[in-house]
């Protein structure tokens, strides 16, 4: 009886409103998981808490980055669009993994090149470029690529700044990334990360690494517009000068130096393809 008093048009539009969704739920790219604003906030808070409790949950740190990126990703995309090299990256959408980058070829390059330095860095730290979580929670496919590119180039930022992968070095790179790229995740990690360090490591971080990171991060060029794959043969010191990075304060442990020596021996034993073809 009460329903009959309400005009049909109002009733129909109310029912229509109840049946519509607040967000488009069709995935925009493989692996895309659309989230509504509430879910986004929930995941951001949940992954922040959980990754503080268990820092080995790289998938949650990735989720935190994606849910908190906000306006940082369009800003980075526009910076990339403003440079010819960045535009080329957005056009080609290159990926960095052991399948797309020829690691053997990098190992054959002369020692002072970027490619060889990167390969050596991977060996010293024991990191592989294949373990990056794909992007899930960014809605625009191009911005999702920008996020993915950031994740895959993160190791190269370590390499170009000559830092290792222990916790202080990771945090130093996060400070660097925050001033260089502007991602909120970098700020969140920079604030939350030091809580897990002991006093000695914290003092090294804040007295040496952070001032360096803040100074050179803000004055050097935006690292997202560097097309690393086209610069493997470039001399690494020349690249550092071009980007504006120098005098890295990083310290490497003796154990990682011995890994370098054994890797060098292994590389010299492999026959170089250029020699066999001549």
């Amino acid at each position: 009886m009460l329903l009959r008093a309400i005009p049909k048009s109002v009733l129909a539009s109310t029912i229509h409103w109840r049946n519509t969704r607040l967000i488009n739920t069709i995935p925009a790219y493989p692996g895309h998981i659309p989230l509504n604003p509430f879910e986004n906030a929930f995941l951001a808070v949940g992954s922040a808490v959980m990754s503080l409790l268990d820092p080995y949950r790289a998938d949650l740190i990735a989720a935190l980055g994606e849910t908190t990126a906000g306006p940082a990703l369009p800003r980075l995309r526009d910076i990339m669009l403003a440079s010819p090299e960045g535009r080329q990256i957005l056009k080609d959408r290159p990926r960095i993994s052991t399948k797309t980058v020829d690691m053997n070829a990098l190992a054959q390059l002369p020692e002072s090149t970027l490619g060889r330095t990167y390969k050596t860095w991977l060996e010293r730290t024991g990191v592989t470029p294949d373990s990056r979580e794909p992007v899930h929670y960014v809605d625009d496919p191009e911005l999702a690529y920008v996020m993915q590119r950031y994740r895959e180039c993160h190791d190269l930022y370590h390499c170009i700044c000559n830092f290792s992968v222990n916790v202080e070095s990771e945090l130093a790179i996060k400070y660097f990334e925050f001033v260089n790229l502007g991602l909120p995740l970098a700020a969140i990690s920079a604030i939350g990360g030091p809580l897990r360090l002991n006093a000695k490591k914290r003092s090294v971080l804040f007295s040496e690494y952070v001032p360096w990171a803040l100074q050179y991060g803000s004055t050097s060029q935006c690292l997202m517009k560097v097309y690393w794959e086209k610069r493997w043969e470039q001399d690494v010191e020349e690249l550092r000068k071009e980007l504006g990075i120098r005098d890295s304060p990083a310290k490497w442990s003796k154990k990682s130096m011995s890994t370098v020596a054994s890797a060098a021996v292994a590389n010299s034993v492999d026959p170089a393809p250029s020699q066999s073809s001549s």
């Binding site: 998981i33 879910e39 929930f42 995941l43 949940g46 992954s47 998938d59 949650l60």
Partner: protein, 293 residues
């Protein structure tokens, strides 16, 4: 017993025969079943469910607490409390899909605390080895470990081996939050009928339909928006929890499931809340019971 029930029993006795019959009659359209909201070939469901439970086993109890905010404990307490195991005499119970041992532990504790009964035994049966391992670990912390009161068996609820699980041998058959994961619910119900003694009880605790529209909307929002994210945050596994909430929606309604229980030969109460089934929290969980006569 009707012709259709007899025919179904004969067919379900031999899975190979079913496949043979199926393919010879209609090879172009293999029988399908639901896996959450997806439709998959029937043969694939067991493997897919296995991989879900292999993946969730180690954090199963934690996730249950997180998703239901601890309420699943109240449901399980009420489930076992209403059954009153050990009230008349020590019972031989079988807890199917009982992997981590929640129900088995409650049965043994109830019998011991209320009736000073240390002869009641529970055999925990599960198809998934990882879940059984978690159950064994949990029971090592209790007084029942290495006693005849508890034992763990890996078996398929749809076809319990006749040598280990003889006809007419159990006083109580329980299955909690497991029956919606099986490929064929009627097969499980028929096996339950087979192994129970005449006069024994079949009891099933499962998620079911919520009738109240307000509670239903809240429940849906919570299920589809919060639970997969809890899965991502706590275990890094969104897909398993997406399967979980979808499989709840695909389960038959309260009266339909009561009818399936009757089809297997059990006698149930009337088709009302409080008769053949009893809703907990408005239908979010529900206890169905039947008696073998």
């Amino acid at each position: 017993m009707s012709l259709s029930t007899n025919l179904r029993r004969t067919l379900s006795c031999s899975k190979a025969l079913v496949r043979c019959v199926n393919t010879s009659s209609d090879p172009q359209h293999p029988k399908t079943t639901s896996f959450g909201f997806q439709t998959i070939p029937e043969d694939a469901k067991e493997t897919m469910v296995k991989s879900v439970f292999d993946s969730v086993a180690s954090k199963y109890d934690l996730m249950n607490d997180a998703m239901s905010m601890g309420v699943h404990r109240l449901w399980k307490d009420q489930f076992v409390g209403d059954l009153k195991p050990g009230r008349q005499r020590p019972m031989k119970c079988i807890d199917v899909a009982g992997g981590t041992g929640d129900i088995a532990l409650r049965i043994l504790d109830f019998a011991r605390e209320k009736y000073a009964d240390r002869e009641t035994s529970v055999e925990v049966v599960d198809i998934n080895e990882q879940m059984l391992k978690e159950g064994l670990r949990r029971f090592k912390k209790t007084m029942y470990h290495n006693t005849p009161q508890i034992s763990f068996h890996e078996a398929n609820a749809q076809s319990l081996p006749k040598d280990k699980f003889a006809d007419d041998s159990y006083d109580l058959y329980t299955i909690a939050f497991g029956i919606r994961n099986v490929t064929s619910i009627p097969a499980v119900l028929e096996e339950a009928y087979r192994v129970l003694k005449p006069g024994a009880t079949f009891a099933c605790l499962e998620f079911n339909r919520v009738d109240n529209p307000l509670l239903g909307t809240l429940y849906d929002q919570y299920s589809f928006h919060i639970i997969p994210l809890l899965g991502t945050i706590l275990t890094g596994d969104r897909a398993s929890y997406q399967y979980l909430v979808e499989s709840i929606r695909k389960f038959p309604s309260q009266p339909d499931f009561a009818q399936m229980i009757r089809n297997a030969g059990f006698v149930t109460g009337k088709d009302v809340d409080g008769g053949a089934w009893s809703n907990l929290w408005g239908g979010v969980a529900c206890v169905h019971t039947g008696v073998k006569v």
